[in-house]
Amino acid sequence: MIEARGLSRSFDGRPAVSDLSFLVPPGALCALLGPNGAGKTTTIRMLLGLLPPTSGSAVVSGVSLPGTDAEGASLRARVGLLTESPGFYDRMTGWENLILFGSLYGLQRSVLQTRARSWLERLELWEARDRPFGTWSKGMKQRLALIRAVLHEPTVIFLDEPTAGLDPAGAREVRDLIADLKREGRTILLSTHNLAEAEALADLIGIIRQRLLEFGSPASLVAAPPRIEIRLGGPAAPFIDVLRSLTGVVAAAADGARLDVTVTDPARDTPNVIKQLVSGGAAVLAVRPLAPTLEEVYLRAVREPAR
């Protein structure tokens, strides 16, 4: 489980993350979406205990943050991290790198070697294990970094931009592995720019730009508010005031011959909207419900002025 309670972090007086509160239940995958500099990496670092928050607290895998040095070490033993860049030693082989980092998690040599072999075989990296890491492809490097993140069998995994810079095939491989990890019941916090990836993998999505702008399941984020699009035979602007005065109409906007109307209940309010337009002299050519995509929800959220 990951629970953030009013987490905030400033650098030299400038806020990077403000008042972040959310809960990721055990076994759920939460995707943090946000533009560059939105505070996603800072959030992950705070939840890992690498950065102390300026204010607020968190509970990750049963460990309260901020905590003592020993609590921080205990937390890091229970969680896995995939950093934005793989972060291995180029001159060492893939196998040597994996054994080195696995040893830092205090794993027994025999256990470590068994797990490392099993993961390398599963991700089709076994044949390349004795080649220097610097000669590996980007996709292979990222897969090895994922193995490092799970080698000590953490209950909580933080993935910072896991598919950034990968080609479509490489990204797909990494996404499949993340889906497998989710199926195994691990709690995952994934930071990404890739909306399709978030929508496909996540149980929960948080849109962040310094503050948490939206948080919920992908379905709940794109469900509300219901909108309808109406195409007219002429300019739509003269009908805006009429629409805004109607009961059940939350918002209305005109764009040329197109009206974008947000209503409370589409089944009840749409016939009334059409009736009023027709009686007002509008030539209604087409009517269709508008289901917002995650992209629209995201763009609307991040473009809004800071609340």
Binding site: L51, T83, G87, L100, L104, G106
Partner: protein, 270 residues
């Protein structure tokens, strides 16, 4: 865990050394010089110590001072000179690990950052104290091994050289032993800790290297020269110096741990 960790980082550094040919000269040239030096000096000693052949006033003054030096024994001026050469040569073995360890330590953290391996390391359960101890061990270990290995070979070469040129056995003095076994490791640890401090502060490899080369190493070499020379002549001075340097190193290690800022390293280094 700590012992395993130290060996783990030592193995990693040794593996890195083995595969990084750029650093080989530093680990090869100094030992070669350190072994060649006593042989060369002893080879020319009979000529240098012969007042009938040398008319250089500086050498004459040196020979006079050697003749008066109560810490040197020997029936002839050549023998006394040989003892001086071999005794002071140990200073070179004191300097060598200091330079190697300070240079390695200066890169220890900044290079991890450059390779982007520091964040994954910091994300493991490793504590700051353990990380700094492992890095210290990895810098000091190879430097001391090289220094002691070279000292053994160099002193054997000196022994053979003195026997060959002067027909006398010149054994290491008590000051030599104290210097090599106590003062050298403590000075090396102090230099490496200073290098680590630099490495934790600087954000790029060239700056860390330059600062270490231009500031840390020269200052440490002055300390080595000031403490090392009397320590070679008077073992008690060596013992007290080693103790004081050891205390300074312990303080510096504690200070390094206190001042190690994960936060600064993660957020301000680019």
């Amino acid at each position: 865990m700590t012992r395993d960790l130290l060996l783990l980082f030592l193995r990693k550094e040794l593996r890195d050394l083995r595969s990084n040919k750029q650093v080989w000269p530093a680990y090869l040239i100094l030992p070669v010089v350190a072994v060649a030096l006593p042989i060369t000096m002893l080879a020319f000693l009979p000529f240098v110590a012969d007042p009938t052949r040398i008319h250089d006033p500086a050498i004459t003054m040196l020979l006079e001072s050697v003749a008066k030096d109560a810490t040197l024994t020997g029936a002839t001026i050549s023998e006394r000179m040989a003892r001086l050469v071999l005794r002071d040569l140990v200073l070179f073995y004191l300097l060598m690990p200091v330079v190697l360890a300070a240079s390695a330590a200066a890169l220890a953290l900044v290079r991890e950052k450059e390779q982007r391996t520091l964040e994954p390391i910091l994300a493991t359960p490793l504590r700051d104290r353990d990380l700094l101890l492992a890095k210290l061990f990895a810098a000091v270990g190879p430097a001391m091994l090289v220094a002691w290995g070279t000292a053994i070979v160099g002193m054997l070469a000196g022994l053979v050289g003195a026997w060959w040129r002067l027909g006398t056995l010149v054994l290491p003095t008590a000051g030599n032993v104290v210097g090599l076994l106590l003062l050298s490791p403590t000075l090396t640890v102090l230099a490496a800790l200073t290098g680590l401090r630099v490495s934790a502060r600087f954000t790029d490899v060239p700056s860390a290297t330059q600062f270490t080369g231009l500031v840390v190493v020269p200052i440490t070499l002055v300390i080595v020269a000031v403490l090392g020379r009397p320590a070679m002549a008077y073992p008690l001075v060596g013992l007290v110096s080693a103790l004081l340097v050891g205390l300074a190193a312990a303080w510096l290690f504690a200070s390094n741990v206190r001042r190690f800022r994960r936060e600064e390293i993660l957020t301000k280094w680019r």
